[in-house]
């Protein structure tokens, strides 16, 4: 599976976050972090509960305003742009907790993802359905009746319908069975092979790092570690903190 990743063309910096600070009132949740996502990369943002992963993600997707610092996407400042406009820039966001439209069918959910276009791209729709055969089976079924894994697939598929250049995935493995998690990450990888850069926020460090080119580790609003996926997977501190392994020494 690493053959697929090695063939990809990794380009210049697509998303550049510099000295980002985010506050909830008096509390500083993100205390000046910098990271970047290169064109064609999968970057994982790891951390325990409360580390600030989702806050970072939400700030990038425009739902929160940064207190200081800058976010640049493809050479354009995007901090402060509201989320519904960000999608026109090319950033699609899969929110935490699989927000699908419960009483719309799978089809309608997917079409809704292409809301920014006059009409949904039929070829893309067919492609997304090929990517998620389960959604094809459930095509006429209402979103709320799907299982958790299917809903997550639907949420990702819906985001793809907006033709993103950068896909923000917030905890795609949350509350899913290990087998489903593996499927989801398999799909994440194949989306990336299609040329979509991905910023992945995860608690499931092992899974995230096996697909990620690079990873950052957040702790209480600060970056404490950075490196390639393989480096981080091998890092003792990561193994201790997230993979639950006893330190050998």
């Amino acid at each position: 599976m690493s053959e697929g990743t090695s063939e990809r063309v990794l380009g210049d910096v697509l998303l550049d976050v510099v000295d980002l600070q985010v506050r909830y009132g008096a509390i500083t949740a993100i205390k000046g972090i910098s990271f970047h996502v290169n064109r064609g990369e999968i970057v994982a943002l790891l951390g325990a509960n409360g580390a600030g992963k989702t806050t970072t993600q939400k700030t990038v997707s425009g739902m929160l305003q940064p207190a200081a610092g800058s976010i640049t996407f493809d050479g354009q400042r995007i901090d402060g742009i509201p989320p519904h406009e960000l999608i026109n820039v090319g950033i699609c966001h899969v929110p935490e907790g699989r927000h699908v439209f419960p009483r719309m069918t799978v089809q309608e959910n997917l079409v809704m993802g292409a809301f920014r276009f006059r009409a949904p791209d039929q070829e893309l729709l067919a492609h997304v359905l090929d990517l998620f055969p389960r959604l094809k089976e459930r095509y006429g079924q209402q979103g709320g009746t799907l299982s958790g894994g299917e809903q997550q697939m639907l949420a990702i598929g819906r985001a793809l319908m907006g033709k993103p250049r950068l896909l923000l995935l917030d905890e795609p493995s949350m509350g899913l069975a290990p087998l489903i998690v593996e499927q989801i990450f398999e799909i994440v990888r194949s989306i990336n092979v299609d040329g979509v850069s991905i910023l992945l926020v995860e608690q499931n460090a092992r899974q995230a790092l096996t697909v990620a080119d690079r990873g950052y580790v957040l702790e209480t609003g600060e970056l404490v570690l950075a490196g390639t996926g393989r480096e981080l997977l091998a890092d003792d501190r990561i193994r201790a903190a997230y993979l639950g392994e006893e330190l050998a020494s």
């Binding site: 997707s61 739902m63 509201p82 989320p83 519904h84 406009e85 999608i87 026109n88 699609c92 966001h93 899969v94 929110p95 927000h99 699908v100 439209f101 419960p102 009483r103 719309m104 069918t105 089809q107 309608e108 079409v111 809704m112 993802g113 809301f115 920014r116 009409a119 949904p120 039929q122 729709l125 067919a126 359905l129 094809k136 089976e137 459930r138 095509y139 006429g140 079924q141 209402q142 709320g144 009746t145 949420a155 819906r158 985001a159 907006g162």
Partner: protein
Amino acid sequence: MNRRVSLPPAVTRLMACLGGSVVLAMMVGRQQGSQQDYGLAFRESVLDVRIIGFLLLGVLAFLVITYREVVTPYVRRPGVRPLVVAVLVLVAAFFLMKWYDPLGDGKFGTLADAVAQTSGILPLAHVFFGWLWWVALIGLPVGTFVAIAIRNRRLAWIMAGLSVVLAVLTLVVHARSVAFAGGVDHSFGATTAFIGFLILAGAGVVAARSQEETAKTRAFVEQVMAYRPGLPLIVLGILLGLLALVLATWLAPRGDNLTLVDTSSLFSGSGLDGLATAVLGWLAYVLFAVVAVLGAAAVWLRSRALGWATAAAAALSILAVLYTLYAITDLAADQGYGTGTGPWQNLGTGGWVLCIALFTVGAGGAVAALQFQGRRGPEGSSDGVAGRLHDAGRSTTIRSLALFGIGLALFYPPTASGFWQQSLSTTIGVYVLLAIGLNVVIGWAGLLDLGFIAFYAIGSYTTAYLTNSLPVKPPSWLALSPLWAIPIAIAVCLLAGVLLGAPTLRLRGDYLAIVTLGFGEIIRIIAVNNPGNFTNGPRGVSDPVPHPVIDLGFVRFEWGGTSLQYWYLLLVLLAIVIVLFYRLEGSRLGRAWAAIREDEVAAQASGVNTTRVKLMAFAIGASTSGLAGVFFGSQVGFFNPQNFVLNNSILIVAYVVFGGMGSLIGAIAGAAALTWLPDFLRDQVPAEDRTMWIGAVLLIMMIFRPQGLIPARRREAELTGLAGHDIAARPSVQAIPASEGV
């Protein structure tokens, strides 16, 4: 030690059922005692022979609940649901509704007593009013139920046939009795009984024809409708037409009921012009026959051209009939025959019913034409034959019902009594408009607005200001006739919608409800407090709001003579609003509303500008209240802050929920039904009980059909151009209860 006595559940249940039947007995009986005798009401309603009937009902309910497992398979059988509906309709017809206006309270019992004491009336009437109706009311439903229970096709057919006979018999006997007794009669008891028997016949047919094990009445009906699209309408139209031509009263100038033949002989040699004389004499029959034959041929041969020809012929015939009605009443008024002072007065139901009949047949032709048009299009998505038939049935059913409704809306009101015309064009019309608006906010965008009446107040006061009816006069260039005030009132309401929407955008659910509730009260209290002597305080407008006028120089038409004129104005306004809102629902904005209603975060992630979309919902929802304000203000001429109390806001919410949240037709139906009900009950139950009955209707509705009268079906237009991927099962799984909150 006080041990709780625990009764066996069956005993508790029986006691509950009996208690319920006593409550029901008290609900149906007299409500108040008197100063001398406080227990009067209780004794009359409970300590009377009739309590036995109610207790039997309670025991029946107990049996049904206890032996539910045994009963359920029977209830699921095809035909049982229409049977239940038929029984309810029949009971309402015989025990609740009026049968003959001029006689006492007009109820069936009174009429039956009177008939029993009258000699010389049709012998059949004695039989019918004497015992036949009892036999029919009890025997036919029981017979049909037995046929369903033992699955006897032949018995079901027999029962269906007998029901049709009884239906016709009811109408004939009633018409002859009324003709015998004389006087103008606007009552609906007989018509309702007719409909009830027809539904019963339908239940029999469904039971006899259906092969299925379980309830498929709806599917069966849709199959029938799709079998020959338009056929049911044609049949109904022909029946109505025969009634109109043979039995119904065409002219009632002096309290006498002249049928078409009588009217024709009355006007022979009276200088009536050629067309009208011809229509009265023979043309009406010929026209109707032509339309009916054309329609039947169109439906049978599945011919598009014939279908449109039917519709065209029907339209021409309606014009001819309307002209005739105008000519005869004009002439009668000119010659001082009867009490009429101008055209359109003293008409019976005949002409209008003939119009409804012609319209219905024409509509049948149009439905047929449209259906065969659709077949030729590139519609053929490969759902399998059954699916396509099902879809075709659904669309023709909806189309047929809608067209029949339009026919009724156009030609029925003239035959209604003045009270109903007034009620239709004021309360019902206005609240239908308001419900359409609130449906946008609650049903489509999912924002609970409890202060909706405030926009109505703003629309009304804007109208009053623009038409010089408030103490503060507008500058002379701004003083307008009500019709010209419509765009400004709508604009002001749009603006008010934005102003209310802006501060509430971050609120959801309960919080939003409270804030909007406050907004509604603020507007009302401002109107009461009369700032700057603008609103004239609790007294309401200072001068009556004028009636609308159309003045084009060569034609001038002023509203205000009768409620009917307002009714037709309202129909035009409603038609425009419905078309616009229907388009809106399927539009991009409509989809954005659906998205934020379903999940705001996901909507935002999909690129929906939630702020703007919510503001649009408030503004567009408010716009219909501007229209309603103009309409109501100019019709009634007078209003005060009492019209805009919180209670009315809540009522509108109830209308929308009752009708089916998010469904345009549902909102209209809900508002119409719930504004009609109090006025209807006014004649049927004691005044003090009215609200109680309405409450009971709401309760029953919300328990047994929480999704509302006509629930929203996600429109297929939303799935634009996805025919190629039309793979999996269409019928979506309804795992999420439609009753889920706003």
